[in-house]
Point group: C2
Chain length 403, copies 2
């Protein structure tokens, strides 16, 4: 029998016992949102590729404006006009200027742009500059933003809309991403019926199948839901073997009776190696983890609340490991609305509602003994009370993991 | 000319000038993740629908265990066994008990369950109970979690994986959700080329089209990207009219030159009503908002960094309003890694990286004058410095909106 492990030990186990699958594919930019970048993106070109003005106004030589004022404008001859989207293929000599729009190219010889608000057009081919301009002012130089060789994005990043914008800017319209990890989900329990069935006496609907499928899909996995298997070791073994063949990882939930948990352990041992039997958290203790080659085989608690916490805290990081995902998650800091006791010895997980009040974020803990729906529906996330803590007072700050 | 409005005024404008579209559809549970719930979900049944044990052990009458101990066990006759997923259609009389698995139904007459660890099977049809049990102990009663009439989820909620689980539990496999809002995205600018083209002299790639498309799709909108339109008032008018006919909202970005901004205003006025010309934020001031009927017509700044901030702060709430979405967003509290100046008079928005260090979350601000890619790629979010603030010291707490 393996010992119960702490959450930190479980996360270390995930890092040491599993390695990234390393399968990648190229997707068009329009399909890259939320995918895990497979390679670092290195700029091949300059952005912008030419010196640009950041204002509407006149490009000129800064030195020609030194000492000018409203009272004594610098008078410059307008020798050209830059059109948006066209090159400025002329050069400015001393005491000349050229009109440039915001974002327009800057002609050679110019080293600043004066905002149109500080100029006066005399209508005779000259303009007056009312305010001196320093060299470089109101310009973006070629490569100011990015130049060739610069790393734009790291591999392992989950691409955001903003990353998509940056990739568009450098013309990266085919993006190397990690293939979605394929996960098999099995629910077990003689008492389970599908969600669209009406439960008979002693029966309940399968919650973990739909819940885990949605959670893993939202994380970027491809899920095969194998449905419900009754508590029969041989049937369970067959189903797990099929799932392990078709998928990169298998998650079985339920089977909370002692006999079935032991059966799951035996099946995992027969398929590979048992790594873990029990995590020191509440709820979520009866969690099993093993592997067949590099394929994780995971047994989650049957109670949906517990299954959901364990999935978010350990299964998602494990799938992230398989996908080479290097992104950190961030928690929301909130203030507890009421005091809360805790059993020390095990980390205690508590679901909560979040609300904005008076410029603060408040966490209102869910209290429920059975708590299937109460702990899931309409809830914003959960927080963890550390194992050395005997409870938290009202007003304590908690770090909330968002659902 | 309309006055520049504060962010609070813009958000109030959105609430008062636009109303929810009110179009709904039913989707299967497996497609409901991330959708906006159109109606409150009210439970029609009891969950659980029967009294259940939360432990493996023996169901019995609590009174029969009072006063027992290791030394003087209470001896009870085993008169039945409950099978998982089946009803317990027998009743317990005084000094009898029945084996129940975790989650199993409780026979009539029993009012507690004793954990198997505190019992001893004498092998002669009797068991000894070593520890007294209070009435109700280790039981979940019918409807403890949910009973008919209870509101499970509010309309306007964006459905999470956990909500999907709760809906499965009550057998709600067809879910009423708000139809996706359809948004037309137009990029304008003579300097723009599509992301897959190589920019010529004076040209840059269109960033806002792909960026806004991804951002709005991630929010749950359906996006039609109308591509790039050159800075020509008549062409722009035609394109905006087509988009307004085909979509529920139109967003045009770019056209940063004064002439084109004025053209956008004229077009919006000719199509309906101009509501806003300028927001007191930096960057993002040259934002335009109007409407044709209940259809928002929005002009975003051409600079992708600014367009992105304005889209996240104002366009998403506006689309949320159209979708009847009632969800609050939560920010991540982080500590500034360096001091930062601010121009008072306008709210200043600053992109940042986030990192975990020593149990704290740190925000490292992006500093960049041009900042197209630097402000977008690999960035975690942004924070706002209020308009009365002249700057923030290193170590100040900021509220970060995640990308």
């Amino acid at each position: 029998m393996l010992e119960v492990k702490t959450p930190e030990e479980v996360l270390r186990l995930i890092e040491t016992k599993f390695k990234p699958l390393g399968r990648t594919e190229n997707v068009p930019l329009s399909a890259a949102l939320g995918r895990v970048l497979a390679e670092p993106i290195i700029a091949q070109e300059y952005v912008p590729d030419f010196d640009r003005s950041t204002v509407d106004g006149y490009a000129c030589r800064a030195a020609d404006t030194f000492g000018c004022s409203d009272a004594i404008p610098a008078i410059l001859s307008v020798t050209g006009q830059v059109l948006m989207g066209e090159s400025a293929d002329f050069a400015l000599s001393r005491d000349t200027c050229a009109y440039v729009p915001t974002g327009g190219a800057i002609p050679k010889g110019a080293d600043c742009a004066v905002m149109i608000e500080y100029t006066e057009d005399y209508g005779d081919g000259t303009v007056g500059i009312m305010k001196p301009c320093a060299p470089g002012m109101n310009l973006i130089f070629r490569g100011d933003d990015v130049s060739p060789g610069k790393e734009i994005l790291r591999n392992g990043r989950v691409l955001t809309a903003q990353d998509i914008g940056a990739l568009a800017a450098i013309g990266k319209t085919s993006v190397p991403v990690v293939c979605r990890v394929k996960v098999g989900v099995i629910s077990t329990g003689d008492e389970l019926v599908p969600p669209d069935a009406t439960p008979g006496p002693g029966q309940v609907r399968d919650v973990n199948g739909p819940l885990l499928t949605a959670l893993l899909e939202a994380f970027g996995a491809e899920v095969i839901n194998y449905g419900i298997v009754v508590d029969d070791e041989e049937l369970l073994r067959q189903k797990m073997q099929v799932a392990a063949q078709e998928c990169n990882a298998v998650i079985i939930s339920g089977g909370s009776s002692v006999g079935v948990k032991d059966a799951t352990c035996r099946i995992i041992e027969s398929m590979g190696e048992l790594l873990l039997h029990g995590i020191a958290i509440k709820p979520g203790k009866p969690t099993i983890m093993g592997k067949a080659g590099n394929k994780p085989l995971i047994g989650l608690p049957g109670h949906p609340g517990a299954a959901c916490f364990v999935a978010q805290l350990f299964v998602l990081p494990l799938l992230g490991r398989l996908m080479g995902r290097k992104q950190e998650g961030f928690t929301v800091t909130a203030e507890l609305t009421e005091s809360l006791g805790a059993n020390h010895g095990r980390e205690q997980i508590n679901a909560c509602h979040l609300l904005h009040e008076g410029g603060k974020i408040l966490a209102s803990p869910i209290r429920s003994k059975s708590g299937l729906i109460t702990q899931l529906a309409g809830v914003d996330g959960f927080f963890i009370i550390s194992r050395d803590c005997e409870g938290l007072p009202k007003g304590a700050q908690v770090q909330v993991y968002l659902y």
